[in-house]
Subunit: 463 residues, 2 copies
């Protein structure tokens, strides 16, 4: 299992390329896993360009080559296809599972798509064209059609024979889908079921008729949730007329989960979703994904400015109040975003639903009370000890400290309330709760905390 | 496939419970998937207490009961075990896969653990005790020992016979692990390989000797990354002496990925990781997970207070400057957190490494320039049109607007720089980059943006 050359000492492999010792390179990677070879090709494309990557690709045996190609990220596939010959493209396309082929086609520029589809067999072309019609992020868009369907009248022995003669190019052979003449799904049977029963048993007697399935138009995130809930490794997909048209496999679901987590995290940081890895995204595209929220949040900060302006006279009388504005705003923002992020995640994991809103508010209220008392007490001590004694700032009186801490208590309570309710309301009206995360909450809580602070100051200090 | 009673009309099932019509309840759920029954039991426990949940559990046939139990969240399992009889506990424990049994044991209070282990067979007890020793979040802690190991001298036919007689209770039978007498891993062979070759072929000739494996002490997150990279459904785990001791299966990896994403998101919102679902966590535990960062960030906001205090005289001369503090701080904070969250996610997906730091800084620098120019230009327009003309605030001069916008440009550039470098440095020194997310960056950027703002104001306005 130990190899002389690995991705850890990639420089030596690069040496082979620079010295054109392709025979040595081929020998070095002969025992590698396909996923590792794909990573090597990706790095070669980065370092030496697509032509060298294709050259390396050509060193592989035909079997290995198509597996390696399937492991490459789609944007690298698209780059490589650009510099491949028509025959090479045709071979690869025929060997790819249809879900991977469709992903590739969607990434290619129109003129290359034309060339690629021209070179495909008419059957492949028809399948790809059909699969291209499924909406983005739907079950249809991540499914593949390489599965085994059988009739319920087969025996275990006949089923094994069927698998032996038809299973070679299937994405999974461990689950067999039992369908009738109209391709309606009647049940599933696993190879484990087959192995645990005598050879003469009929499939109908051992199949499981209660199948968890998806419809082509279902959201891929819901499909992923089903996989996780039921512990599935594969799931059949049916069309609107209940005919089986494909399967989703767990490896695609793992990718979906990763993408959806990235998208949630991006939304929480006020970034529009991006498609490519960080270093592959152009400066312009990164700018495009970040500027809309920055702009919106900047404009909405006009309110905080207005609030301060309207209290300008009070602030002029008691300038020391200004020093505590950032601390109050930050504490409010942090408290609010803790609540909102917790709720957003709980909603997305299905731990809570809209009907739990009063339970959530009641819980956040109690948490905010304890947090507020802890923070305000310690803050009072901090102000008196550090700001007043240590820094010798005589403007900071006990009364000022009291005003700041009282404002802090109310700010935290309101911030937690806003933080927990907005994501739930967002989901209720059909928005993604993730947009109600930290930056958005912060902007709202900033305005609220200033109003509370100045309100209390005016009232207690008579300014 | 259509059932009269589902989780959608759970109220009717609750009626059966309230009217003690347990026979009807049993009939209603007879065809349900085990995962759905588990969800029902969880809801019954919530609504009517653990006794009723156990009552429902006892309605299930023995086979179904253990599968259903495995689908329950660990904290519900622990609650139910508390009110079960010794015999029931014993049966369940023997039927659980060892990874699930270990999770359960870890959740139970000490006195219940004693009772449970007393009731287990000595072999189960020994296995559980051994598995309990693996560190939290290690490959050892998520693996199970229900796998099939074979010798390489077997033929395909002999292997099938072996599976037929030993495969019933295995977590997976589709991958067979080829080991020598000392249990060293020599290769793997899949049921697909077996099915695609003649019955008389010897395993040695068709096994794959290049196995991706984990060591018991490997981090579970690394194991999950391997599953995703190589598209695996199962992975063998070896001990420090290279002997095979267990397997990790893809369903556990899906759970790990979900947990790790939750943990990352919590860290990014300055929350310490929590174990249980939101509504199951006590107010005290929620408080405990949120207060440390709130405190730290509140204390560190002392700096912003000090900065404002030291510019108090300048602010008194030109109070209008105060109105733009929140907007500048927020824009800086949002810009910084966009960069930091993007980098944290890219690090966690393996898209970038520490050696890319200069590429990253260069990219963020260009993005920040474009963002800064766009925002500053629009902000200048906004200040002149809204703040000056619309709100008729004559203190807002062109010169003030220029100072604010210049401060904004520098703030955004510095914020993006801080936001992209801190997570990378954190990883370099062995910290989790996720702690360098929005709240932390905001606190740093707040201080920096104030220094820039007041510095520019003092210099240009001569105050």
């Amino acid at each position: 299992m130990d190899q002389k050359y690995t991705l850890e000492n990639i420089e030596e492999l690069f040496n082979f390329i620079e010295n054109k010792q392709y025979r040595n390179l081929k020998d070095a990677i002969v025992d590698w896993n396909e996923a590792d070879i794909a990573e090597l090709i990706e790095k070669v494309a980065e370092e030496y360009g697509n032509e060298k990557a294709v050259l390396l690709f050509r060193l592989l045996s035909k079997d290995v080559a198509s597996d390696v190609f399937a492991f490459l990220p789609t944007y690298v596939q698209a780059d490589i296809v650009n510099v491949m010959s028509d025959v090479e493209v045709k071979n690869i396309l025929e060997d790819l599972y249809v879900d991977d082929a469709v992903d590739l086609i969607e990434e290619l520029p129109a003129n290359v798509v034309k060339r690629v589809l021209k070179n495909a067999t008419s059957q492949t072309r028809a399948t790809i064209n059909q699969f291209l019609k499924y909406p983005d992020n739907s079950a249809g868009s991540i499914m593949t059609n390489e599965y085994l369907a059988i009739k319920k009248t087969l025996t275990v022995q006949q089923t094994f024979d069927y698998i032996r003669s038809n299973g070679q190019d299937m994405e999974t052979i461990y689950t067999l889908f039992v369908t009738d003449k109209q391709r309606h799904l009647e049940g599933i049977v696993t190879v484990k079921d087959l192995l645990m029963n005598p050879y003469e048993t009929v499939v109908e007697d051992i199949m499981d008729p209660n199948v968890i399935y998806a419809v082509t138009t279902d959201d891929q995130e819901d499909v992923a949730d089903q996989f996780s809930k039921y512990g599935l490794v594969t799931m059949p997909v049916v069309d609107s007329e209940n005919r089986m048209v494909g399967i989703v496999t767990v490896d695609d679901v793992v990718d979906v989960m990763e993408d959806e987590a990235t998208e949630d995290i991006e939304k929480m940081a006020a970034i529009l979703p991006t498609e490519k890895p960080y270093l592959k995204t152009s400066v312009f595209n990164t700018w495009k994904s970040r500027i809309p929220w920055l702009l919106l949040l900047m404009i909405s900060a006009t309110f905080t400015g207005q609030i301060i302006t309207s209290f300008e006279d009070a602030l002029a009388t008691c300038v020391v109040l200004t020093a505590f504005i950032p601390m109050l705003m930050d504490t409010g923002g942090n408290s609010g975003s803790q609540a909102s992020v917790t709720i957003i995640r709980a909603l997305s994991l299905g731990d809570i639903e809209f009907k739990d809103i009063f339970k959530v508010i009641w819980k956040e209220f109690r948490v905010s009370i304890v947090c507020a008392i802890t923070l305000a007490t310690l803050n009072f001590g901090k102000i008196m000890l550090i700001d007043r004694l240590l820094f010798n700032n005589t403007d900071v009186t006990v009364f000022i400290a009291f005003v700041v801490c009282l404002a802090m208590v109310f700010t935290i309570i309101v911030a937690k309330f806003v933080g927990c309710t907005l994501p739930m309301l967002a989901q209720k009206i059909g928005l993604d709760p993730a947009v109600m995360a930290s930056p958005f909450i912060t902007t709202i809580v900033d305005a609220i905390s200033l109003l509370i602070y100045f309100g209390i100051a005016k009232w207690l200090l008579n300014i």
